[in-house]
Amino acid sequence: MIEIKGVHKSFGDLEVLKGIDLDVKKGEVVSIIGASGSGKSTLLYCINAIEAINGGKILVDGVDVHDKNTDKNQLRQNLGMVFQQWNSFPHLTVLENAALAPQVVKGFSKEKAEEIATKELTHVGLGDKLHEYPTKMSGGQQQRLAIARALAMDPPYMLFDEVTSALDPELVGEVLDTLRLLRDDGMTMICVTHEIAFAKEVSDKVAFFHKGLIEEMGTPQQVLENPQKERTKQFLSKVL
């Protein structure tokens, strides 16, 4: 379970998160929507300890993420993360991309790591690209590689940061299909997304961020079809 309690985060004078409370239970899919600059992505970075926080607490399975005694590298193994830009490792083949972290972080043998990587890559539909270099692939394929790369660490949680925003429109579908696949596997996921229809379809819970606060949260039906707050209505009318 991921527990986010009153989290504050500032960049210099700019307060990006002004007290966020959010619980994500095992097996839940939570989508975070909201305008650019509302702090959605920053929250993901804070959960993964890539960014420090200025107040509050984030617990992952009871472990305080920002406690200085917490082994951040250990923690990140439990939190798979996929970014807006896929960040493939250009010097490694598709298979090596996904097999690297299991080898060097978990200390698996090359064979075992490649076996796991092959399984995950096949799962996301890249089974026929194992020995190609990622720079030769489309953005959609590279993004699926990034997902498989994270999955190869066998994390109980996955964080998705606007994973379709940098893609050409015709490539969005294949990546969303991959996310649906993960939902069907029972993966716990937090998705920061601009795809409202997708959020409605896959989420157990939707949180609408506005200026560093959760303005409205609930089931997709509550938040997306029957919003109570004026700002949520305005935002939805703009994006739908």
């Binding site: 923690l75 990140r76 010097h91 690297l100 060097v104």
Partner: protein, 216 residues
């Protein structure tokens, strides 16, 4: 009595010593220059402002004082301090440091070319800082530096000619001695030039080739 003696086959061994010495000191300078350059280049790319200022200052001196002056100064200095060194040793030290000064920039730009987002992605997989350096930053950074590394290496081979000034018997110095003995300057010099050219030109073509391959 004839003051000058024409060059003969006996001189081939003499010239060959020069050739080998040139290759020898170049390889040593490139080897140590590369290792030191890699370490300091990393320090410059990842280090804070103070590290950068200190390093930059020292490297700047190595790059802004003529190599020949550095060689004379160093060998005179250690001599005056009572620790005279063989020309080969003194030459190797200075040529390695000189090479290092240029290699640092080569490697620094290599490390700077690794996108921060890629390093972040590696960290998000649970890789530690040093694992990320070892498996991501070095392999990605080093790919892009090969052409400029070759460039620096080639200029080291050429600059190694200057170590003759402190008495190291490299190719150009053996040639100069043969010239003053035999007075057959053109023939000897053409041979020497050909030697440098035949080493340097193919390597420079190879450097250009991989550079083209990369930008495509």
């Amino acid at each position: 009595m004839n003051l000058f003696t024409p060059i003969s086959w006996n001189d081939a061994g003499f010239i060959l010593t020069g050739v080998l010495n040139t290759v020898y000191i170049s390889v040593i300078a490139i080897f140590f220059g590369t290792i030191l350059g890699l370490v300091l280049g990393f320090a410059r790319a990842e280090g804070n402002k103070i590290v950068n200022m200190c390093l930059g200052g020292v490297l700047d001196i190595l790059k802004s004082v003529p190599l020949i002056i550095q060689l004379i100064l160093f060998s005179t200095f250690i001599g005056a301090m009572g620790y005279p060194l063989e020309p080969f040793v003194a030459g190797s030290i200075i040529l390695s440091l000189y090479t290092m000064a240029f290699m640092v920039e080569v490697f620094r730009s290599g490390f700077d070319n690794v996108p921060a987002a890629t390093k972040k992605a590696a960290r998000s997989l649970g890789m530690s800082y040093w694992q990320t350096v070892r498996h991501i930053s070095i392999p990605i950074g080093m790919r892009s530096v090969l052409p400029s590394w070759i460039g620096v290496g080639l200029s080291v081979i050429k600059d190694s000619a200057l170590v003759s000034v402190i008495g190291y018997m490299e190719l150009l110095r053996t040639a100069e001695q043969l010239i003053s003995r035999s007075q057959q300057a053109v023939m000897i010099l053409v041979g020497v030039g050909l030697f440098y050219f035949l080493i340097s030109y193919p390597l420079s073509l190879y450097g250009k080739y991989i550079e083209r391959k990369m930008t495509r």
